[in-house]
């Protein structure tokens, strides 16, 4: 239901009322902003010294760019590894071999229920106790491991969901030309599911990028650690540093969500998928989320009808 039907086209009276509410709304918003401004002013947060460090190249050179690089590195590694792992898991979860199906099922349900941070902390401690990885790489490996375990489980469900949303004729056609069930899945169903779920997969990238900030807690030098904690405490502008980091994250993630929307619009236009275009419902889940009922969730969200 689009929200346009919730109310009539406003008549003269309603227009006046809407204008009054709009003015009140703006006033309330301005009041809040003014209060924040005043609060910051009281504590001299508007002093130029606190904001100018972001204009200096050395700041970017020593803090922002390395932090951004580490954030993107962890996110990129996690995305690639969890996609590959998710494909394998999805094949396992749809396999005809029952024990394999159960094993993968337990794996997926377990790692969807455990917080990402718990896995990051455990991996970080585990690696620092056993010296089989270089010490300086430990935070990166721990961050990526946490992200991969959770997101591969979620992406596995996304793929499985995509397969089950395909018309049953797709599978029947594969079987009728003599392909085995596993060949049918590999060559017909999964590729189509991936296309159908492409927008969801792209928006999962946002979740991964956002969650990489959990690395802050295990001392991984990502954007929040570098440009927030370190830069902020060095220049004594903690508030400004965190605002700056927030803006950077919002810009990056907003960009990715626009890409997801463009992909979805393109698929609609071309009619390229056999099944319904996957909704961006996963995007609507908080990061480190993934309820046990992803399927119902996607059906409910639909294409946003």
């Amino acid at each position: 239901m689009s929200s346009q039907v919730l109310f009539d086209a406003p008549g003269p009276k309603a227009r006046v009322r809407h204008r009054i509410i709009a003015v009140l709304g703006i006033l309330a918003l301005l009041a809040v902003l003014y209060w924040v401004y005043g609060r910051m002013d009281q504590r001299n947060q508007w002093e130029a010294d606190r904001w100018t460090p972001f204009l200096r190249w050395t700041t970017w050179d020593t803090y922002v760019l390395p932090g951004l690089f580490e954030t993107l590195r962890a996110a990129a590694l996690a995305i690639v590894i969890s996609m590959v792992l998710a494909l394998g898991l999805a094949m396992g979860r749809m396999s005809d071999i029952a024990p394999l199906r159960w094993a993968v099922g337990v794996f997926v349900e377990f790692f969807r229920a455990v917080p990402v941070l718990i896995m990051m902390i455990f991996t970080a401690f585990f690696l620092s106790r056993n010296d089989f990885t270089p010490t300086e790489l430990n935070p990166l490996i721990a961050t990526v491991t946490g992200l991969v375990l959770y997101n591969s489980a979620v992406l596995c469900e996304v793929i499985r969901n995509g397969v089950s949303s395909l018309p049953s004729g797709q599978r029947e056609a594969g079987l009728s030309i003599g392909l085995t069930p596993s060949q049918t899945r590999r060559t017909i169903l999964v590729p189509q599911a991936l296309t159908a779920m492409l927008p969801t997969l792209v928006s999962q990238i946002i979740v991964i990028t956002k969650d990489s900030a959990l690395g802050y807690i295990i001392l991984y030098p990502e954007l929040l650690t570098m440009a927030g904690r370190q830069l902020g405490s060095k220049n004594g502008n903690i508030l400004q540093a965190y605002i700056f980091v927030a803006v950077m994250f919002i810009v990056i993630n907003y960009g990715i969500s626009k890409i997801a929307e463009a992909v979805e619009a393109r698929q609609r236009r071309k009619g390229r998928t056999a099944g319904p275009v996957g909704s961006s419902e996963v995007l609507d889940q908080p990061s480190t989320a993934g309820g046990p009922d992803l399927k119902a969730n996607t059906q409910l969200g639909g294409g946003g009808g």
Partner: protein, 226 residues
Amino acid sequence: MLELIEQFNLVAAFWMTIKLTFFGGIGALVIGTIVAVFRLSPVKILNGIGTAYVTLIRNTPLTLIIVFTSLGLWGQLGIEPATRGSENFIPTLNFRLAILGLAVYHAAFVCEALRSGVNTIPVGQAEAARSIGLTFPQSMRQIILPQAFRGAITPLGNVLIALTKNTTVASAIGVAEASLAMKNMIEFRPDVMVSVFLVIAIGFVILTLPVGLIVSYFSSRLAVRR
């Protein structure tokens, strides 16, 4: 195993997790409903405020929001939701700041869940509400929102499950919940690291699995039959 649980007072840690989930959830529900009404309202400005809220919050990492409530809101702006000088000043303060952060963050997702709930209501109902002369607030209160909540049980349940797991981020500002307990336990007893991890992980499975089951039970029971 039992000795571990007692030695590090794991029950208290998980009780903290549950409290964070409970209060954070209520806060998120209240803020999220308001934002959802804003986003559905005919007034463009309110609409814009709601959309801006969701876009900004949804694209910001939760870690940043939680850390910001402590270092930014409290440390720099002096917003202090606890009485100074009372015993447990710092733990209470951090606990309330963490709840604020969790509520603000998850409200954006509650809002989106409610909007998807509104999408399950047939267009005809809104038209019928209008045709019998109900105003926007009336049709919201009497027709749309009650059904939207019922239709949104599954996504709301997912937000609740996510919230339960996300309470671990509160350890970033020193709230003594399960993940901080795990950190301490591993530091003091690195020899039993794996069982510590399993205990904590199973604790979360126990917390989130029933929610999932209850949610799917109620979403099929309470869904409005059409």
